[in-house]
Symmetry: C2
Subunit: 251 residues, 2 copies
């Protein structure tokens, strides 16, 4: 443990306290606690958190650096980016999950047949020579990009989608409509990574910005894997939510 009586110890103590305060306030922002959009003033935060004014200022600086709040002299600290919540409780497309926040529009960057890498073919249960339908979509919510989705679809499932409204519809909904078969489940893995330069440029964030990198293999109700997606979601726009149970069943 560092010693708070030394300069280094005092600095660390303040940094630790600032992080504690920032964690609480960040979650309050996520929960929509600040109805007016204005955070309490510094004096109130000092009293509320039992922290020094310097620690509170440092906490606000952290939240500002994350793009969650803007600090204006004389006005106070304003929430500028409440993140949208995407449930991890249930398999849902983005437009479906975020419908209450407005329509998702998709900038379709690619939509055609390709010969997939062997690794992709294997995960879709296809022989190496079989083509797949490849989609690349930059997905917008409001006036800002939300995610970049690379999608590999088994050909029989994907081909009918090429004449559908890919700009405004979720792939999940389109698959169920055109195939007449319901989706069943998906294996999802979520990573937190720094955006490379090109991904950052496409998503409209700074190079190195934290993003979710999600790999999702979706199966029809009969368990056949048909949709492999590689998704980058802006970390500053989405919170993933779930309810976990100790016993392992879904809450």
């Amino acid at each position: 443990m560092s010693d708070p009586r030394t300069a280094r110890g005092a600095w660390r103590l303040r940094a630790d306290r600032a992080r504690q305060v920032a964690d609480v306030v960040r979650q309050q922002i996520a929960d929509g606690v600040f109805g007016t959009g204005l955070l309490p003033d510094e004096r109130t935060l000092v009293a509320e958190h039992g922290a020094s004014r310097n620690a509170v200022r440092e906490a606000l600086r952290l939240l500002s650096a994350e793009g969650l709040v803007v600090r204006n002299r004389g006005v106070g600290t304003r929430v500028v980016a409440r993140k949208y919540e995407h449930g991890l409780d249930r398999l849902a497309g983005l437009a479906e999950a975020l419908h209450e926040h407005g329509p998702i529009s998709n900038e379709v960057r690619a939509a055609h047949r390709i010969r997939p890498p062997d690794a992709v073919a294997a995960r879709l249960g296809l022989a190496a020579e079989q083509p797949v339908v490849y989609l690349e979509r930059l997905r917008w919510l409001g006036d800002r990009p939300l995610s970049l989705d690379l999608t590999y679809l088994a050909e029989d499932i994907g081909a009918p989608l090429l004449s559908e409204d890919l700009e405004n519809r979720d792939v999940f909904a389109l698959i169920e409509e055109t195939s007449g078969m319901p989706l069943g489940s998906a294996e999802v893995s979520v990573q937190s990574v720094n955006a490379d330069a090109e991904t950052a440029a496409v998503l409209g964030v700074a190079e190195g910005a934290a993003v979710f990198a999600i790999d999702r293999l979706t199966r029809l109700a009969d368990n056949r894997p048909v949709d492999l997606e590689s998704i980058r979601i802006r970390g500053d726009r989405i919170t993933l939510r779930s309810v976990l149970r100790r016993t392992g069943e879904r809450a």
Copy 2:
């Protein structure tokens, strides 16, 4: 769409292809496909992905920048950091979830009673004056830090833990043992953020490195909230996994 016949278009095309290749290989690394730890050579990757040699090299550069592989001239590209998987299917402590990879050890940075911020008290269902037990633990797996956990516990639940082996045990297991009550469920929210300078220093990563910021409110089986945690997990060490069902029930 950019035009691949222009220099900018060609660059973007290569960057897009590089990202596609990197996404596939990253998931293969996560799945433990490369048993020997060596990736296929460039020529094999070119054939496998139908990509240019430049795109494959750029993909390997991306994976190297993420700290997943190291490239050695003459030897090839070696996997150095397969991420550990932490299931999001079931409520489990870190030591419990990762037991097959080795023991978790906890550097206990704080363990004492505090008067919590009102926001914390409210989420734990406590009156503003009630103290809580505060724990701060830097959690190690092997020779590297994995996560920094800030924990607020209802006093009656947390106080008995202060005389327990916090260095080697999960808080979840200790709560169940000392209280005699099973845990029930937790509300979890997961964000992807850039590590601030102090968090980065504690976790042993570069400032700005992508980390998971997890907020988790855990309830006893009788639904009483007793454990509020704010967790930072190194993005380069953990993949969160889940199986989602279309119908909303746990897979």
